[in-house]
């Protein structure tokens, strides 16, 4: 995948670029907003990672300009600013996701994976399958090997999110943001308890577990 990194802190930029390359991505980098914008408009990228505060041209402006010129590249904002309303501003300017510095690299990786996945035309799906687990989005019913699984509404949303990102690492923060719409870290890791409840419902009594814990990162649902 082609990724554009626009980051003025060269140390952070080097780290990002190296990490992404090690994860198998092709990376271009820019250290200011103007260069970043011209790169974003001249080459096709699968994801752009843009720092909120950039010299020459502010990150918000870069993304606004990208959108103005018809670029649909998903953008992940990185920000060292204080949070409460900056997230909203970033998303309003045309960003697709928002990550506050300092971040864990796995978090960043999981989020750009999700952004790239979102970009792939999936069509309107009414059913999600992972191995023998199926989720009917219309009747809101879950089945594993033909056995009905009773799910609470929130458990359904949690499973749906995991299954939409099957094969990808999904972090606790991502779950909290998309399933519960909370943008703060609860002091206790409540997500783990929800996951273990869900796991008890979908994996208990079956040979092969589907819901896996990815150490130091989050969770992943996959068939094998």
């Amino acid at each position: 995948m082609r990724i554009l990194v626009v980051e003025d802190d060269l140390e952070a930029q080097r780290y990002l670029v190296q990490g992404l390359k090690e994860s198998g991505h092709v990376v271009d980098e820019a250290a200011d907003g103007e260069i970043g914008l011209s790169l974003a408009l001249s080459r096709p990228y699968d994801v752009a990672i843009v720092d909120r505060m950039l010299p020459v041209m502010d990150g918000l402006k870069v993304v606004a300009e990208m959108r103005e010129h018809g670029s649909a590249t998903p953008v992940l904002f990185l920000s060292a600013l204080s949070e409460v309303d900056d997230r909203v501003k970033g998303l309003k300017a045309g960003g697709d996701d928002y990550l506050t510095k300092p971040y864990a690299f796995v978090e960043l990786l999981a989020r750009i994976d999700a952004l790239m996945r979102r970009r792939m035309p999936a069509g309107v799906r009414t059913r999600l399958d992972v191995g023998d687990l199926e989720l009917d989005l219309l009747t809101r019913a879950a089945k594993r090997s033909g056995t009905d699984i009773e799910l609470q509404p929130r458990e359904f949303r949690l499973l749906e999110y995991l299954m939409r990102h099957a094969g990808q690492v999904v972090t606790r923060t991502m779950l909290l943001e998309s399933v519960w719409e909370y943008h703060f870290d609860p002091q206790t890791n409540v997500i783990d308890v929800h996951i273990s409840r869900l796991r008890a419902k979908i994996d208990k009594g079956f040979q092969a577990p589907l819901l896996h814990t990815v150490r130091g990162a989050g969770y992943m649902i996959r068939a094998h």
Binding site: E11, V84, T100, P102, F105, P186
Partner: protein, 472 residues
């Protein structure tokens, strides 16, 4: 809807009302004085004429006796004029004069008296007012000398009948004028109040509009606007400082974390060094969490955050948090539930209120022993809206309660459990941001009851349809 009582409460209306009453009183007093003075002067004139007449008649009597007096009276009454005479015996039989009969007179002889008499005017008999004196002439004869004062009497009557109406008219017009001025002032004040309300709600860019008349209200508005400019500048400065502090601390923290991650990646996962680095990363994350919490508290407390306010059904926000924490409570064998209550809608920031409530619930779960219970309730109280979290844990000693919302304060008993010591500070900051109050109370028989008390002004009228399905 509330205009009428509000109008009566305005200072302008009250001032005008007091002024109108004083004015009516002064007008009445002034008119009475003028009336009294005029009447006194007129009466003095009349009395002088009567005295002169009597002096003349007395001379006649001295020279020519009763006969002469009667002659003179007859001569003087040949022509109809203002002067009235009547000479009669003790039984009031007329000897001479121009009155038809002896009038009804109260008062003793020698006093100046007023009485009514009748006389033909334009062929019709008319009752008129006169003023005069009765003298006893030796020989059982009475002499009445008077002046017709009917014109004065009419004026006086007109005055006494119109005066109450004048006063009533002054009161009515004055009150109406007061209401008009009051309403005008109210409108101007309303504009100022509305703008202030919007500013309090978070829009610091609003300014009070000026009418351009340069009156006191314009001066007040201008001063307010100048103050607002200053506050906005200060807030902006504060925001910039917060932003640069955030930026300047997060950037090196970011590098630090990146380096640690890089080092961890280079080392094999099993070694002692790797676990040291893992621990360093965890410490860094704790540092970051504390810093983020502090920053959020600072921003929320100062109100510099422009966190979006919207109408929230408090019960729904609470239901979401309960739903998030329910499995955790369940795991600890603590019953966590939201008590049913009326759908209370307030104006607030969902994320901040949810975070505050999450902190309270998190604490409650931490300190409530197995088998305990936590009850959350959103209710309307006398003076506002209450969102409460009541647990059956050990509670907080009364002496410690004011302290626990201070930053980094952790009670000795809880030092060892995880947490930054900022949880309740954030709750207090969120309360402050919403003009609400965090009250820590006893929960009978044991436990802590933490109450977020929102003022009535944040209470919103319930929309016709529910905003959002609580189950969603």
């Amino acid at each position: 809807m509330r205009t009428k009582p509000r109008l009566l409460q305005t200072q302008a209306f009250r001032i005008v009302l007091v002024y109108v009453v004083l004015f009516a009183f002064s007008v009445t007093a002034l008119l009475f004085f003028t009336y009294w003075n005029t009447r006194r002067t007129l009466d003095a004139q009349t009395d002088q004429i009567i005295e002169a007449e009597i002096t003349g008649l007395n001379e006649e009597y001295q020279h020519f006796g009763l006969q002469g007096l009667a002659e003179t009276v007859r001569a003087r009454t040949l022509h109809q004029g203002q002067s009235l005479y009547m000479l009669s015996d003790s039984a009031h039989h007329m000897i001479a004069g121009n009155l038809d009969s002896w009038p009804q007179i109260s008062g003793s002889p020698g006093d100046m008296v007023e009485f009514d008499y009748e006389r033909p005017v334009d062929g019709k008999l008319e009752s008129r007012r006169a003023r005069g004196r009765v003298y006893a002439v030796p020989g059982d004869v009475l002499l009445l000398v008077a002046q017709d004062v009917h014109d004065r009497y009419l004026t006086e009557r007109m005055f006494t009948t119109t005066l109450p109406w004048t006063v009533i008219l002054i009161l009515i017009l004055g009150t109406a004028g007061g209401a008009l001025i009051g309403r005008n002032m109210l409108n101007r004040l309303d504009t100022i109040n509305r703008t202030s309300g919007e500013i309090i709600a978070g829009d610091l860019s609003r300014r009070v509009p000026l009418t351009g008349s340069g009156d006191e209200f314009d001066v007040l508005s201008e001063n307010l606007n100048r103050m607002l400019d200053r506050i906005e500048r200060l807030m902006k400065g504060l925001r910039e400082v917060t932003d640069s502090v955030a930026h300047d601390l997060r950037t090196p923290l970011n590098r630090l974390r990146n380096r640690l991650e890089e080092s961890a990646a280079r080392l094999s996962a099993e070694g002692a060094q790797a676990s040291e680095i893992e621990r360093a990363i965890a410490e860094t994350d704790q540092l970051i969490a504390t810093f983020n919490a502090l920053l959020l508290i600072a921003e929320t407390d100062a109100g510099t955050t422009r966190a979006a306010m919207s109408a929230l059904v408090l019960g729904e926000v609470a239901a979401d948090v309960v739903e998030l924490y329910e499995p955790l409570a369940d795991e600890k064998k603590v019953s966590l539930s939201l008590l049913p209550g009326p759908p209370v809608v307030i104006e607030g920031n969902r994320s901040l209120i949810a975070q505050a409530l999450a902190n309270l619930v998190d604490n409650a779960i931490k300190y409530t022993p197995s088998g305990g219970r936590i009850r959350i309730r959103a209710a309307i109280a006398d003076d506002g809206v209450e969102l409460s979290v009541a647990d059956s844990g050990p509670g907080i000693p009364e002496a410690d309660r004011p302290r626990v919302t201070e930053r980094f304060v952790r009670l000795e008993a809880s030092r060892n459990s995880p947490g930054t010591g900022l949880g309740l500070s954030l709750v207090a900051a969120v309360a402050h941001f919403h003009n609400a109050e965090l009250v820590l109370d006893d929960n009978a028989p044991t436990g802590l009851k933490a109450v977020l008390r929102f003022p009535l002004t944040t209470l919103r009228a319930l929309p016709a349809a529910p905003l959002k399905n609580a189950a969603e």
